[in-house]
């Protein structure tokens, strides 16, 4: 009984819960801001990189190469290292704009760099899944390469990749907590401060609860979309 009491006291003590709530909540709002900003940037930038990777012709080879190098590098590097490199490395360069941002901006930049690389691959799979005859049909009507992409290929690709894209965003939401390592006062940081002060871990549970409540609806929504798609595909196969 004694041990159980100690566990409960350390992790889910009601007083500590109440005490930690305001600070962790304030921190969590920073997570949400980083998440929305990074997601918006990722959605746009990843589409750009995916399109560059698909450019035809020999003259586009250097661009394609650069896009491949980028995705390989940032899919391979752990986010925490990218956060260190951006959050500590860039200020150290003492350049004008690049070195004078807040840790919040560096955090968003690190998340965006890493997740753009992931989402590029998601978009690319979507673009490749659109049958080439769709592109032929668009080009045969006189649409240019980019018009065919914009009006015919990309809209179909995006529809298909929404579930995997949301899955990546669930990862991104949680990874905003890693940005604590460069000193952003987000939920995990606030929880840690509390825990260091009161020798109690309930604050981490509070933060975890926030993340879980943010993730569950998105996860359910993603499952729902996948189920709808499967039902449709099964109906189409009959």
């Amino acid at each position: 009984m004694h041990a159980l009491h100690r566990v409960l006291q350390a992790f889910v003590s009601p007083q500590s819960f109440r005490l930690a709530l305001p600070d962790v909540w304030a921190g969590f709002q920073v997570n949400i801001k980083m998440m929305f900003l990074a997601e918006a940037l990722v959605l746009v930038l990843a589409l750009g990189v995916a399109i560059i990777r698909g450019l035809p012709g020999r003259s586009a080879a250097p661009l394609r190469g650069a896009a491949i190098v980028y995705t390989d590098l940032f899919r391979g590097t752990p986010l925490i290292l990218v956060a260190f490199l951006v959050g500590f490395g860039l200020p150290g360069l003492q350049l004008r704009v690049i070195s004078t941002q807040t840790t919040f901006v560096y955090g968003v930049a690190a998340l965006t760099l890493v997740y753009t690389a992931y989402v590029t691959e998601v978009y690319r799979a979507g673009i490749e899944s659109v049958h080439p005859s769709q592109r032929s049909a668009a080009r045969s009507l006189g649409l240019s390469y980019f018009q065919a992409l914009r009006y015919v290929v990309v809209p179909q690709a995006v529809r298909r990749v929404i579930p995997p894209l949301l899955n990546d965003f669930i990862g991104l939401q949680k990874d905003t907590a890693l940005i604590t390592v460069i000193g952003v006062a987000e939920a995990a940081q606030q929880a840690q401060n509390f825990s260091n002060t009161y020798y109690n871990f309930t604050s981490y549970v509070v933060a975890a609860v926030f993340f879980i409540f943010l993730t569950i609806p998105l996860a359910r929504f993603t499952d729902h979309l996948i189920a709808v798609r499967e039902r449709k595909e099964r109906a189409a196969a009959i």
């Binding site: 045969s140 006189g142 018009q147």
Partner: protein, 247 residues
């Protein structure tokens, strides 16, 4: 001078020579049918005329313009040439009306209202005006293929290329599509039609070309080719078609 001149065109995919020295002339308002076994190069020839495939050798002239010298604006050529495919290839994420108005709006820069008015008029003529707001997957194959034809017509092409446009259709849906093509022919549209519908070819074509292994082996009046083919390969092909009950 012919409206379309295909001169000594050759085309390979890797080691696979798909077109060998193909020469074909089509006069304005003429309908030419391409017949031949599957794999003989009919689709490739049509795709080359529409610059969807680059050719290796030879030249293609359409309406007096040399289109295969690599210097032309391929987009500008393609908007003057309509092509309809066996698999319809409608855009599934767009309604019928959006399918038909996409190119007039984005390529010809028509205003939306203008593009929609003429699209509705075209749809009305093929009896599909009430399907304007539907998505393609709600239409029968015959309806989809007629929309695909109208989508090409909306660009007011000078030349239409039809690639086995009834091959993917249930037999009872073939005639509604062929009727539309017949109307186009009567209207004077210049067309090159790859088809397995031999009775239709006999009826609308002023000239029939038999392709075999990427070569135009025999060409001539529809009635000559069908009643008295001179090449044994043509005879063989037609015999097989008759066996399949399509002539």
């Amino acid at each position: 001078m012919s409206f379309v001149e295909v001169e000594n065109v050759s085309k390979s995919f890797g080691d696979n020579v798909v077109l060998r020295n193909v020469t074909l002339e089509v006069a304005e308002h003429e309908v030419v049918c391409l017949i031949g076994a599957s794999g003989s190069g009919k689709s490739t020839l049509l795709r080359c005329i529409n610059l969807l495939e680059p050719i290796d050798e030879g030249r293609i002239v359409v309406d007096g313009d040399l289109i295969t010298n690599g210097k032309v604006d391929a987009n500008a050529i393609r908007r003057e040439i309509g092509i309809v495919f066996q698999a319809f290839n409608l855009f599934p994420h767009m309604t019928v009306l959006q399918n038909v108005t996409l190119a007039p709006r984005r390529v010809r820069n028509l205003r939306r209202g203008e593009a929609e008015a003429s699209a509705r008029e075209l749809l009305r003529r093929i009896g599909l005006e009430d399907k304007a707001a539907e998505y393609p997957d709600r239409l029968s194959g015959g309806q989809q293929q007629r929309v695909a034809i109208v989508r090409a017509l909306a660009m007011q092409p000078k030349l239409m290329l039809l690639d086995e446009i009834t091959s993917a259709l249930d037999p009872q849906l073939v005639s509604e599509v062929l009727n539309l093509v017949r109307e186009l022919a009567d209207f004077g549209m210049t067309m090159i039609i790859a088809t397995h519908e031999m009775s239709f070819a006999r009826e609308v074509a002023s000239k029939v070309c038999f392709l075999d292994g990427g070569v135009i082996l025999e060409e001539g009046d529809a009635k000559d080719i069908f009643s008295a083919p001179s090449e044994p390969r043509t005879r063989e092909f037609l015999a097989r078609i008759i066996e399949a009950g399509r002539l």
